[in-house]
Structures are given as structure tokens and as C-alpha cells.
Symmetry: D2
Subunit: 353 residues, 4 copies
């Protein structure tokens, strides 16, 4: 109830702070008999690791995951799966200056108002570091989905205002920035370099697709599949907008343009992004997320301190220039958690004998 | 768990179909002592009523709400509040032709795949008629928020691709289309008339603001206030995109542009839309929703029937040309339910004596 | 969250007071395709009806249930099932004297402390009348279980301190007091008559059995099947104790006496009451509930009024002399809701393809 | 949803097996500002430690708890509190023989039926070892309650069929067996010695009291305080019965005997055990639990193996002779979790300004 649990039948509960002992979680509700190893989870965590690529920080973390329970002889037992990733490289001294001042664009002020206390070391629980636990849990959800022929792929389709001219989802996993195409990468590298030089940061847009989903997933009314997805994706710190299918563009189409005609072989188009009336229709799920620029900038900013006195702040430390590409596997993980949960919920009892 | 309950401490559970006995719900968790009457709820329902304005249907429903429990001597007792709105005007014969064919853009196909059965009369449970119960429940949440000085206002900021040139939230309640300004109304009326003449339908964009919210609402990590809002708004059938604050525009700003500087008197700007790190910061909450065009069009469409045979369909019956303006009070209701729930959750125990 | 919803996948939400418009509920999560009619629910409600038998009140209610949603062409659609039972016969004048005084043994004082307000007419929400909604919801759960060959039977095994000498569950449904055997009935009738004459009331013990349940239901650790059952049965107002299998007698056995030996044909005994380690083992589920005497007695009692002044009270009105037999179908309903929910939860995804 | 999470606002999620890496958990929803240290939790864990007293096993575990998150500068931050207790002393070879045979009275068979797989090393997740995480979480709940003047005390009131002649709750914490009085201890020691010599095991009865609770806690209808308590206590593996107040004895009283008269200074008696209509009434909460004998006995037992072939089994290893006294702090912990959760839920918003 305090925000650290996600899901209904497949539930991920997480804990940990940026500069505490580490980050961990418990995945409950995973069916028994799924092959699971630390290596499988580690592979996803490695994709989120800091310090890779031109937009990255210089902070180095091995982010090594340890499975603590729920696996016996290489397969899941159906009981809760505990895991832990120790923090290794917390230079707390970097964060000294911000112990008293609230960083603009960060959760500092809200946490202080909410809890009357906050762990100011790297943002504590509000740090993006918590997403490591999402990726670990999502890796298990992903393995579950893969058993059912469902795959999830995300790609960066826009960075710093420069859209990718082409959308090729399949190769994104191995491209710099997890870019949607090769040709845009030099322009993005150039943009990142310029903005970094100016002490500033960037945002972008990520597209997520899920293939192989059967029709019929999602629940009516409040727990529509797109509602669950929107909530899950928006729960990732940097995300400020979510679209399904045509999204905001749908607001400018007419019904005859936006409706997807049905044929005996499936929908003739996919304006809906695979979800109609909140229920999957068998087409690929398509979502897009707006990622805001990282709020930790090297430029001087106006803010207030804990006594509400005006101060200026300049944020040191080792920070990413953009949440992309590291946010991409996080968005994939949240999508995997939503879809695996929906799949488990749909395995309902048939009333007819 | 099957999608018909919304909220955590303040929980709305709804039921009812387009052509059944009626629509109803139970609101649980409302604090005791809140003045509540049928008239208070009716006032909100009247704003959602069909048949008003140029984009409306000719279907007439009085949508009269009956309070069934939870109120004693004019105030809430803290127990569950049941309410019911009888259906009055179901011309089931209009829906005969669609008993076998799946309407493009509707939930028909998904429901059939999910449940193996569907109530084809007006879409059954997937009909927009279910939103009457959201508005009724939201009216109570709204009254609760008002006691704490929190107000919610929504306005249409774009219709059929024509944006309102000016955003004046305060007068929207009494304007046609709940428009964000007066000057755009003639253009929207013209657009609606043209599209209706062509047998087609329209979408648009709605902006929602909440004022008076204290800083500190929302829960960390998965239950961020913006995540809850995004899920709630996306659960309304016609919504295909949700933005908070700058939303997708934030993806094109730099950190120095997007961060809101803090001053002793509050934030100097509100790019964040009142929520940072998932926690309210005391600024107005600002969200925008993309509303897709109504899928029920009078034009001939290609689809399949329950035997997966290709057929064409032309949808008769009395339908709105646009979910706007009727969706506007629904989006306000969902926002009210989210914020009232967040407010109740924040009233936590103080550990310090 | 405020106590009016029960269950996880199969969820019953109820509302209504003793002297308001009526009692109702919403059952969500019932699978599609289950034949359901008002008659099926009415049959269970009729078993709970007041005024039947020597321990009954003279209050007469037809308790006619109306199905409001979720059923189409005689079967469930998988959407939420709303139902309502109008109150008919509320003689509010009977309750005038207790508007100011707290009735000993009743929830009056607790509700006043909790909510700062209470509906004193017949106890409002705390009245046993709310159990009508449990029976209605339970009737649907029962129909679901019957499809899977699972039956639930309860019987009174002790009344007013007089135990039934023999336990014959099968015929209980048609016996007075839903007694566990015929021979004890005259003694119970005699006891009831004497206590009623003295202006006092009685309690007793009810035994519940469920047959046909597969092994493997229930969840580990906190959601054990016996934990769910104990919580469900204890939530019925008059219940003050719950035992599974040997219950308190098990505390006096040794391990060699209490363990149930296993044979290729099943357990050789059933001391465990069908649940070991919180998981069903394929033997019949056996539970027992202690039912306290009805607190509304005609004798003078010492109490305080809303100003904490000492007063005496003598409770008029039409009251049962014992919660038995009317509580018996309520306990069956709660058992049905628990078991149907557990059955739905067990229909999980198989990870192995 | 898979059984490893307990609570609503204060939620404990646990993981871990008898012979895996260890036992751990996450407590979410604890208010900020509560002083918390490993020492505070360790003190409760030490009370549950194996190997102390005549009824104990020879297995030695230091059961050292590590706090992993949620605490900053010695107080809770309001975020999720992770903790871990490493397993130290798993002699897996002891459990070899039971890899194929189902132990009578254990969860082995149910887990195999439920999951199609089981961790047979010491029972895996079904081992009583999971209760260490309950005690750790409960220690935090207890600290929270102590801030509000609420204390919880449990004592053994019967062992092996021998009741304690006197109930003195206050000194139980320091007595052998956590006994309710000193005088019964020699008889219990004698009984334990005899039964251990015979290769058999014992059960008993534990009484739990909570003092200082305000009136008004608990939720109406399904989430009554006694229902929550009964579910929580019954979720502890060895518990087979739960009573509140008079419990089963209430079934033999008349209303005039069982009702607690109210006076300006409080209730004149406490037959109700502090809960009426599911809501606390300001009197001490009183509950009793029936604890079954430990199923692991050294005597030969009849059972079947995984191929459903009859075999005999004799359980070696180092086992307790009775779940008492180690279960006593576990029952206290569950009570603390229930009451702290109820207290947080009651801190509701006042609708009246």
C-alpha cells in the first residue's frame, strides 16, 4: 500500500536506496517449473548498467544479482523469489552539498513534505537506482512470457528532439542508444556531446512493442490492459507521457481513419496498438513513452533549502546525460510485468465442465 | 480482481450494462461525516447526460441516481455507499444486426475472445454507459476533496484537430463542449456538423487541472501519483494517451528548460505538472488526455462475424459524434477518485508521538 | 479497504443497512458461462429467512433478490454481478430508545468510537441483516463449486450447551435448526422455549464440511486455506471461535495420534480437517464455529448513553433467540466464497509449455 | 497474491526456505520517523531461536538479522524496509530419505499437488523457519504500537494436555515455555521428557493479550478485527484453532451471561475479548490458539512415496518436541502486525474540516 509492490497475481515488491546496502526485491506468484538462473537475470541487468555509451555516467557498478529463494534444482518452485543486488560504489561525499538544498526536478522536496525526513544520499529511495530491481523482476516475467511465445522489444525513436527516420525494432537491442535505426546514431551522439558540454541534459521518446500476445488479455472497466500499461510505464521516474497505438495522433483522426478493419486473417491495420476496449486483440501491443531530461544538471539553478531560504545549486557527482538508453530495459521490464500478470489472470476457471 | 474495482482506501466497485437493468456501484472507504445527497451526485451526472449539445446522441436518459446505503441523516456513516441508476431507454432492436458481427474499434472481439460469450446489446459492459457509475462515485470523491480546498476542472483544448487558441479553465464548465475558450466554439460546431454529415466521428484532447493539493501526496516507486493518474485516465474507454505537465514536449526540452526552479514562494514554473518523482509538489496538477474518435460510424466498414467470415457493417442507432464533451466529467471523476484516495493514504500515522 | 469487500479473484462487495433501502452487493470475478438465475440465489436466501422455526423472530421479510447485471441469456458474462434485496418491514419505532444508549454486546459503542456517528436504526450496517448479501454472493460461489463436484454442508452440532449425540451431515439441510441429527431436536426446542421465556438468548456450535475439493488449494505462508477460512468464518458477527479438524482437541494429542497416515487410497484418518500446511490434501474440509448468544435480550442490562451516563436498557423489538439456525447458510456461504476463490487462484499458468 | 504478503497499509512480504540462502522480507508502509535498529529486531528473533529449553531442537542458528534499507540515521524513512537472515546450519543430508516419501502431517503432499514440484530439503518454504521473517517484521510493528502505548503479551496456558492453574501474563516472557505461571513448569518438563523419550511430540494452547488499544479499531463486515486476527493466527503453521474472548465457551453461555455490561469507566467484564461487532471496544484483546503437536516424530509412520507406493518413514534430524515455546513470539508478531495495520487504517481523514 506504500507503493513498493506492483502487480496482482505476479507481484514484485522492491526495496533499497541509492547509497544503502543495496537494491532488492521479492517476486511472488511466479508459476512453478520455470527454469531460472542468476545468469538469466544478470543478462537483463547488464543492459541497464551505468557507464555504457556516450550518454552514460562514470559511476561503475557491477550490479551482480543474487537469487535468495524460490528456485530449486534450477527451476522455480512457485514460492516467493527473493533477490539482492549489493551497492558497491557509493561516493557519499558527492552528495554532501545537497543535504540541505532541494534539487529542482527531483523528488527531494516531495519526499520531505511527505515523510518529514529524507535520505538525501543520491536521492535515497527516489533514485533511479531502484529500477535495477524492476529489471531483475522483469527478467523473470520475460522468461515466463517467452515460454508462451510472447516477446517484448523497445527502441529509442527520438532523442533530444531528433526523431529516428526509420523504425526497425528488431535490431535495437544491439544498437547504441537502443536506437530504432542505425542512421540516426551519429546525430544523436553529436547532440549528446554538445549538451554535455553545456552542462545540460536531454530527453527522448521510447517505443515499446509486444508480439505474440493472444487476444483476450486485460480486464474490463478499471483494469484495462492499456490502463495497466500506462500506470506501469508512468511509474518509471523520468516518464511524463504514455501513448497506446496512435495515441495523441488519434485525437486528430476521424473514426473511419482510426478504426482497424477486421479480416479473417486479423486486423488490416493497428491504429489501436493492439488494445481495444482495454482488451488485447491479437495485434502487436504498441506503446510510446515520453522521457524527460535528467534533472541533475551541472548548470547553476535557483532553489530553496530546508529552511525555505533561496540558494543556488550546481549538481556535481557522476550523472547520466539522458535516461536513455538505460531506461529502455526498465520500460521493457515494466511491460513484461504487466503482460505476464495479465496472462496469469486470464488463466481463469472455465465454468463449463 | 476482475477489473470492476478502483482505488485503495477509497474504492469504487461498479456494475451494469448498456441494456440491462441499470448501472450502479459501491463506494467504500468514504470517511464518516461528509454531507451527501442524491442531488449532489445528480448534478455531476447531469453534466454527463446524453443528448446535450451538437456532438450528442438523440438517446435520452434521465440518469436518475438512487442512494441505497451509507448515508444517515444527511451525512455519510463511514460504511459502504451503494447507488443505482436505472436504464430507461434501451431500444434493443437497434443492436440486432451486430449480434453476429464484430464492430471495428469496439471491444466486441476482445470480449468474445476473453469470455467466450458477450452481451452484444449496445456493447454490454464495454459500453461507455458504465462511466455513469464513475461520475457518481467521483462526485462523492469531489465533495470530499472540496472539504480540503481541492478543486478539479477539465476543459476541451482540441477537437477534430482544431486546438483552442486560449486556455481559460475557469469558465469551461458552462461552455459548449466544455471548451477551454469561447472563440473556438464556432469552428468546432462547424467541424462537428461536417463530420456528422459524412457519417463519420471525431476525437480531441482534454486538459485536467487540480488546484489546492498539498505537497506530499502520492507513493514512491510503483504507486506514484502520476502513475495512478495515468492508469485512471487511460481506463476510460476512449483515451489513448496521457501526459503530465509538459508530457511529450518534455522529451524535446533540456534539463535546464524543463526543471522548475524553486523559490521561497513555490515553484517558479510548472513544467512538471505538479508532480515530481511521483509526489505532488504543491503546484497545480496538470494532465492531458488524447480522446480517440467514437468507433461507431455510419459509414460501411469491413469486419468479420462470429464465424470469422468477412462481412460489411454500417452502425445505426443513436450515437454521439464525439466522446467530447460527455467524457469531460468522466475524466474529472477519475481524477477526483485518484486524488481523494491519495489524500486518505497520506493521512498516515505519525510515528513520533 | 474499508471492510466491505471479500476475496481475491472472486470478490464480493456488499452494502446496505438494517433499516435503509435494502441490502445489496457486487460479485466480481465470476467466470463466464455459469448458468445463473434469481431463483438459484433465492433458494439460498430462503434458508436464511427470518421467522422460521422456534428460535426465530416474528419479523417477516420476503428477502426477494433482484439480479441487476452480469447475466445474459441465463448465463454469467464474466462481468460484475450486481444484486439487490429491498428492505420491506422496518419498524423504526422499535429502535427509538436505543438511539442514545449503547446496547451491551453490540457494535454500537465501537461504531460510535470509530466513525463518530452511527446509524442506530437496528444497528445500521452492523446488523446481522448484512449477511443476506453474503448468502446471495455465496449462492453463486456455490454454483461454481458444484460444477467442479464440490459440495458444502453445515449442521448445528450443539445448541445452548446441548451437543448433538450423532453427526449426520447429509440430512441437516431439511432438519429443524439444521440439526446434525434428529434425536436432539426436542431437547433443543425445550431449551429454546425455556430461555425465551426467561427473556434470554442462546449460542451454539456449527460444523461445516466441504467435499470433493482437490488437493493443492490454498496458498503458502499467509494465505493458507485454513487462514482464509478462519478469517472468513470469524467475520460473521456472532462467531467467536473457529477450529479446523481436531482444532483445540489437537492441542491435547501427541504427534503420533494427530498425524494422518497416508495410504495409496488417501489419508487413513482426517484429524487435519483436510488442510495440512495450509494446503488442501484431498480429504473433506472440516471446520467448527462457536456462535455466541444473541446480545439483544429482553432482560434489563446496565450500560451507558452517548454522554457516558449510566442507564439501564431493556431491548424490545423482534429478535431471534439464537443466531442458529439462520447463521448456518451464512457460514456455508462464506465457506463457498473462500473455496471458489482458492479454486480460481489455483487455475494458474503452467510455466512448462 | 501467492500468499507471501500480509497486511493492507502495513505489509510484510517474505521469502526464503529452510535450506536455501536464508530467510528475508520487506516491510512496506511503516511510517517515517520510527527509531529502528538491527538490535531491536534481533531481540525478538532471539526469543524464537531454536535450541533453548527442554522442548527444543539441537539445531543451532544465530539468526542474525541484517537491515538492508528503509532506515536512515537510525529512524525509518517511510520507504520499504528490507531485511535478511542468512541460513547457517543446514545439514541437508538429514533430509535425504524424505526426498521421495511424503511426511504425514506435513505440507509435502499438498505442495507436490499444488506446484508439481517441491523443495524437500527441510520442507523448503513450508518449513517453520519462515516464521523468523514474521518475527522480524512483527518486531517493527511492535515498536510502532509501543509508541502508541499498546503492548502485546503471549503465554502458554496449556501443554500436552496439562493446563496452567493460574494465568499471569506479565512474567511469561522470562519463564520457561513462556508459561502462564511458575507452578506448572515442572509438570510440563516432565511431560516433555516422557514424550521425547517415546519418540513422540506435543501440542498446547497459547493465550495472547493486547493492552492499550483504543476503541474503534477494525473494519466492519469482512475485515473485522477478530476476523483479521483469526486469519493471521491461523496462518501460523501449527495453529488449528483460534478463539476470541470466551471463544467456544461463549456457545454455552446465555446472552445475559455473555454480554459485557458497560459502565462510565468501561466494560464491567471482558467476555468479548475486547472486540464487539468486529471493532475494538477499549478492553484488552484476548485470543487463544490451539497448537497441534509437531508432525515430525521419531516413530515409524505409514505413508506413500511420490509414486503413490506405500512406505514407512521414521523422521530423523533435529526437531523440536513441541512448537511451544518457539511459536509464542511468532503469535505475538502476527498480532502486532494485525493491530499496527488496524491502527494505521483508522488514521482516516476527517471529512469535517
Amino acid at each position: 500500500m506504500a507503493g513498493n509492490t506492483f502487480g496482482r497475481l505476479l507481484r514484485l515488491t522492491t526495496f533499497g536506496e541509492s547509497h544503502g546496502a543495496g537494491i532488492g526485491g521479492v517476486l511472488d506468484g511466479c508459476p512453478a517449473g520455470l527454469p531460472l538462473s542468476e545468469a538469466l537475470i544478470q543478462a537483463e541487468l547488464d543492459r541497464r548498467k551505468p557507464g555504457s555509451g556516450p550518454a552514460g555516467t562514470t559511476r561503475r557498478e557491477s550490479d551482480t544479482v543474487h537469487l535468495l529463494s524460490g528456485v530449486f534444482e534450477g527451476v522455480t518452485t512457485g514460492t516467493s523469489i527473493g533477490f539482492f543486488i549489493a551497492n558497491e560504489n557509493q561516493r557519499s561525499r558527492d552528495y554532501g552539498p545537497i543535504a540541505r538544498a532541494f534539487r529542482p526536478g527531483h523528488a527531494d522536496f516531495g519526499y520531505q513534505c511527505k515523510f518529514g525526513i529524507r535520505d538525501y544520499r543520491g536521492g535515497g529511495r527516489s533514485s533511479g537506482r531502484e529500477t535495477a530491481a524492476r529489471v531483475a523482476g522483469g527478467a523473470i516475467a520475460r522468461a515466463l512470457l517467452a515460454r508462451h511465445g510472447i516477446g517484448i522489444h523497445a527502441a529509442t525513436v527520438e532523442l533530444g528532439g531528433i526523431p529516428a527516420p526509420d523504425i526497425q525494432m528488431e535490431g535495437a537491442r544491439s544498437r547504441a542508444f537502443f536506437a530504432a535505426c542505425d542512421s540516426v546514431i551519429p546525430a544523436w551522439e553529436e547532440r549528446v556531446r554538445a549538451v554535455r558540454g553545456a552542462g545540460d541534459t536531454l530527453g527522448g521518446i521510447v517505443r515499446i512493442e509486444a508480439h505474440g500476445l493472444p487476444a483476450g488479455l486485460g480486464e474490463p472497466v478499471f483494469d484495462k490492459l492499456d490502463a495497466a500499461l500506462a500506470g506501469a510505464l508512468m511509474s518509471v521516474g523520468a516518464v511524463k507521457g504514455v501513448e497506446i497505438g496512435e495515441g495523441f495522433a488519434a485525437a486528430r483522426l476521424t473514426g473511419s481513419q482510426n478504426n482497424d478493419p477486421m479480416t479473417p486473417g486479423g486486423m488490416a491495420s493497428n491504429h489501436a496498438g493492439g488494445i481495444v476496449g482495454g482488451i488485447s486483440n491479437g495485434q502487436p501491443i504498441v506503446a510510446r513513452c515520453a522521457v524527460k531530461p535528467i534533472p541533475s544538471i551541472a548548470l547553476e539553478q535557483h532553489t530553496v533549502d530546508v529552511d525555505n531560504q533561496p540558494v543556488t545549486i550546481r549538481i556535481g557527482g557522476r550523472h547520466d546525460i539522458c535516461a536513455i538508453p538505460r531506461i529502455v530495459p526498465v520500460l521493457e521490464a515494466m511491460t513484461a510485468l504487466v503482460l505476464a500478470d495479465a496472462l496469469l489472470l486470464q488463466r481463469r476457471m472455465e465454468a463449463r465442465p
